[in-house]
Symmetry: C2
Subunit: 411 residues, 2 copies
């Protein structure tokens, strides 16, 4: 692929102008938006307004005046529109891990005769840890983690499965699990589905309601660009609200928290997922970051995402570097998220060498390098430049070659 | 008390200059720092630096370059120095409610043959709710909330008590519980002590290590001034680290999270209290807010706090308004925190009327008005002005009298 065709892809990119809403540090090609999204200008501005004007000047009056008290719910509704979910089913609060704990408990409570939580060995570890914590707390007679390979989930569901915990886009390979198909099988066995949308939200069209997903969780600091460690979100289908029980009883989840009653009485809606006083500044950051999606279609975003990873693969194939890197992501763009991952003996070293020349990718143990593309701000010409630098390092060894070799004994 | 003596109190106040580090909105007398502290200038500045420079420019490199990965622990150590705790025992993370859940589970796990969590009816409701959530999750055979009156805690402890959950400063009355004395009794019965420091941290000298407190939790948005919904903190005494088990197994609490092992292996120190990806921007706000305490002594702070509430009471007594307001806080300054609360039939209306004339206090259901003083930024002359305005409203009815009467049928 020659430079002119990359330029024409950029020219024809319907999202080309969106990138100007983000701060891109000079000289940096950022291919790690799947770890931490770039800073949108509107987020920095909102954070300052909330800090200096709302907190600084209006103080506690802001709980009503600036709707702080409704932030978790209102931001949740904005996220819902990216998840194919009707309003009133998503809350933005706590971390993805804590939210996972809530929905695991809710699922075990709905399916109280069953104990098995089925997941995949290659799931993001913290998801598996949260189940293990619940096992330790409740005992194996009430909760048992069973792990299988990603492709074997459907056949492993049985009548003792309380819930299947699955991540839609694998953090390491980018492989997409067919959530809709899996849910049909899971529901036939009377089990529930919990989906981790960490690497889906904001880059994949999602249809939680349509596919009758039971619960979902996700984070807002990756493709949603809300800042480092921004709050997570949790989806609980309306079907389950009446029977909903999650054990982190906090005053924000109370049916009437400001009555200060000593007895807990849960809100009978998504508010029950709330626990403590909401993190106002970071929730406001999420709120602002979501404004970027106004008027954008997730189909357009997904199309560009597929095009970006396709072009990246083609450019790599056309370079000599491709001999060194083994792609562990699905080669069919339909089957992968907004990333490409490669196995390479010296992945860590390559990652460091790339950072030194301004290309930021992500290393994942033990020997994977992961390139994330964000359709909102990645340009096609950046991929061409990145491939050139990968080639320089791996093939021509022109960049910092001595340091690279010393560190990693490349021979 | 005449104006000149109030002025001389201000002149002799060793903390007089500290107030300039905070943004005080013009025309406002802020007596609600026990709900949400004023914004320190350094916090607003730090939030902007972390957002625009660290996140914006340095992106994921900031995890190491700006020590994001150690923030929970480093900020925890700074908080520890305000709690009379050695380093390595405090983490700043999640909300106070979530942290309470962790230590409740840890206490029940250490005292696994016991099920009773003893607390007070008048505790802050969310504390009681968290125990009720655990009851619901574990069943009454493993966890049982028993509530008694605040003064009866010591005599209610028995051999089936796993832990006593007590708030040092009552949120409603400001009454201080003698934590040191209570802990001795509790330990004699083999039970553990969990202290909620929400209304203590930053205004009372605390000696967690000296008094052998087992666990403590607290928040940073009140007297520590870290902003609305800022992260909570959790203290776990080193004595318990070896046997520590809290069930929210997250990758930040793993002994080696970045190994991405599918099996959880808990860190054998305070890091085990961490769960998900840390909320970097709000943790940085806490970090900056704590800098204000550099070089200040908690004894000086406590002395000024007592003086402030004493002066406020004297001024009120000297005014005619005192006839209307029944003080429900201890009259002995030694026995109360940094607040004064009053019972008054029309407390809500008074609170609203005061807000309209620039005095911000807090209403607490059903009929209490709560005035918090922050030794870091409350001046004595502000109390004189506040009392004047209370008097105007309650006795002379000069301020917005018609609106006040319409709303509340004051006759």
């Amino acid at each position: 692929m020659i430079k002119t065709s990359v330029a024409s892809l950029d020219n024809n990119d319907p999202l080309r102008e969106v990138a100007s809403q983000f701060h891109k540090p000079e000289g940096v090609i950022y291919l790690d938006g799947n770890s931490l999204g770039l800073m949108p200008h509107c987020v920095a501005k909102r954070i300052e307004t909330v800090t200096r004007e709302q907190w600084g000047n209006d103080l506690i009056a802001s709980w009503n005046k600036h709707h702080w008290i409704d932030l978790s719910r209102n931001v949740g509704d904005k996220i819902a529109s990216l998840l194919g979910a009707d309003y009133g089913q998503v809350a933005c609060c706590d971390s993805i891990s804590i939210n996972l704990f809530k929905v695991l408990c809710a699922a075990l409570s709905i399916n109280s005769e069953r104990k098995k939580i089925l997941s995949t060995e290659d799931n993001f570890p913290t998801d598996l840890y949260m189940v293990q914590g619940l096992e330790a707390l409740l005992g194996h007679h009430r909760c048992e983690l069973v792990m299988v390979e990603e492709g074997q989930l459907a056949e492993a569901v049985d009548e003792d499965t309380a819930a299947v915990l699955v991540t839609e886009v694998n953090f390491r390979t980018g492989n997409i699990v067919d959530i809709a198909g899996l849910t049909q099988v899971v529901h036939k066995h009377g089990a529930l589905v919990i989906v981790d949308l960490a690497h889906s939200a904001g880059v994949l069209p999602i249809a939680l309601d349509k596919h009758q997903i039971d619960f979902a969780v996700g984070c807002t600091y990756k493709y949603l660009n809300a800042g480092p460690g921004a709050p997570g979100f949790v989806y609980a289908s309306k079907r389950h609200h009446e029977k909903l029980v999650q054990p982190l009883f906090g005053w924000m989840g109370h049916a009437n928290g400001f009555a200060f009653s000593p007895l807990y009485s849960p809100a009978q809606d998504i508010n029950q997922m709330l626990v403590g006083t909401p993190p106002v500044i970071s929730l406001s950051a999420v709120d602002a970051a979501l404004d970027i999606y106004d008027g954008l279609s997730l189909d357009t975003i997904r199309n560009k995402s597929k095009q970006l990873t396709n072009v990246f693969l083609e450019l790599l194939k056309a370079s000599n570097a491709s001999k060194e890197l083994t792609c562990i992501s699905p080669l069919d763009a339909e089957r992968r998220g907004s990333q490409l991952s490669f196995e390479f003996e010296h992945a860590y070293a390559l990652c460091q060498a790339l950072i030194e020349v301004g290309v930021i990718a992500d290393f994942r143990a033990p020997n994977f390098i992961r390139f994330g593309v964000s359709p909102l701000y990645t340009h096609f010409h950046e991929l061409a430049e990145a491939v050139e630098k990968i080639n320089d390092i791996l093939v021509y060894k022109t960049y910092l070659a001595s340091r690279f070799q010393t560190r990693n004994k490349v021979t």
